[in-house]
Every structure is written in C-alpha cells, then in structure tokens.
Symmetry: C2
Subunit: 111 residues, 2 copies
DNA sequence: TCAATACTGAAGTATTCACTTGACAATTAA
DNA sequence: TTAATTGTCAAGTGAATACTTCAGTATTGA
C-alpha cells in the first residue's frame, strides 16, 4: 500500500518459496543472469514442467520476473520478494539484537 | 564452521520454519518477551501439543531458544536463525541490486 | 496425599506439495 | 510443409505437513 511497485508481496509466500532447495537453486542460477525455462531445468534433473511450476511460485511472490517472447520464456531475478524479505528482517531486528545484548542468555545458548 | 556459536543452522530450515503463519505468530509474540508454551498457545486457537511441535521446529533452526525449569518451558527469541537469514540475504543482495539499477527492466516490472 | 497444572509422546488424519506422465499448442528451422 | 524446439495444461501419485486426540509424566499447590 505504500510501495512504488504495483505488486503486493506476501511474506508468507516468500518464505515458502525459499524453503524449497530447487527454488533456491533457481534463484541462485538467475543471480548470475537471465535464463530460459529449459536452460534452468537442465542442471536440476527434473522435468521442464516442474521448473515451470516452481517459476510460477517464484514469480507470484516477486522473487523472479519472467517474460515470454516467441516460444522462449526468459526468467530473471525479481526485486519485490527480496525487498519484502529484507523488510521483514528489519521489522524484527530490534528484538533479536536486544537478545544479543543480553550476554548471559547468549552464552547460555552457545551451551 | 566459522561461527562463534556452536549451532549450525540450515537456511532451508529457517525458510521452512518461517513459511508457516502460526510459527511467525510465535516469533512475533516472543519478540515482545519470553513466554511459556501454554501462554503461547492461548491466543492461537490450537492445542498445546501443536505449539510444542512448532517450537521444536523453531528451536532446531535457531529462531527460538527454550529452557525447561520445573514443569514450565520458557521460550524466547533465538539469534542464530535470524543471523543465518540475514547472511543469506547479504549473499544475494548484489544480484538484485544490480537488477534494480537497470531502470528499463525495473519499470517493466512495475507495469 | 490429592488434584490441578504444564508439558510430552505416540498415533492417526486431511491437506498440501513436489514431482511425474502424457497430450497438446505455438514458434522456429530445414 | 514438415519436423524439431519450447513451453503449457490436466490429472495423478507418494511423501511431507499441520494439526488432532488420547494417554501418560513431572511438578506444584492445597
């Protein structure tokens, strides 16, 4: 409601999307530059269909942006999902920094 | 292998843990201060057993730290999970900042 | 001692999830 | 036109997940 971007990203979806190893692998691959669906599928040992399903999830939460030109869908890193993620961390930072300051508890946790 | 803390936190588990709305609610509640298991369960409309199951997941990935004294298990925010999360974002920041710089693509995404 | 409190453990269930197969559509190349 | 490439759609499967209930175990208070 306050962002420049038109997409509303739910943090739940972002977390869920990144909870899957295959989807994180896709994000990692796209971090190095754009790629087609089949190019993404190649090193993953899963079908192109499965990759397309992952891409839909990644796109819905703003982690990936795709565009189809001709018969090729080109995928690249999105920004909204990452922004939402950083925002969530910022919103919670104070509580765990506060906890970090409490030395006894911290050492306790180290065991 | 390089952290001061003794816990190795898998980012997969952190993302998976935070992908659930109930677990995020628990984290939110604990951000305001420590609480017992039953105190956490009260506003959630689920059984104490379910909360205990969530707590185990949250503890395994370092988002929550718990300690049982007498018959009461006291839960508080952990730090390792949040650190792992921030680390993951830092590791990926360059790629999406690079993307943000590309104005045409960015505007394209707003659409 | 007796009962209430606070949690734990095992087992079951309904739903979600990551994947597959197989059939199809659209674009590009020969 | 024909054939290969690239992706999409629908439906199904097995495993994981978020719960539940029921039966227990400690701990605390009266």
């Amino acid at each position: 409601m306050s962002e420049g971007a038109g997409k509303e990203v739910s943090i739940k979806r972002v977390f869920h999307a990144l909870g899957d190893a295959t989807r994180r692998a896709i994000v990692d691959r796209l971090s190095e530059g754009p790629a087609s669906v089949s190019r993404l599928a190649a090193p993953l040992n899963i079908t192109v269909t499965a990759v397309a399903q992952h891409l839909q999830i990644l796109e819905e939460c703003g982690l990936v942006h795709t565009e189809k030109v001709g018969r090729v869908r080109t995928c690249r890193i999105g920004t909204a999902g990452f922004a939402a993620l950083q925002q969530w961390i910022n919103d919670h930072r104070s509580s765990w920094e506060r906890r970090l300051d409490r030395l006894e508890d911290f050492l306790d946790e180290e065991e």
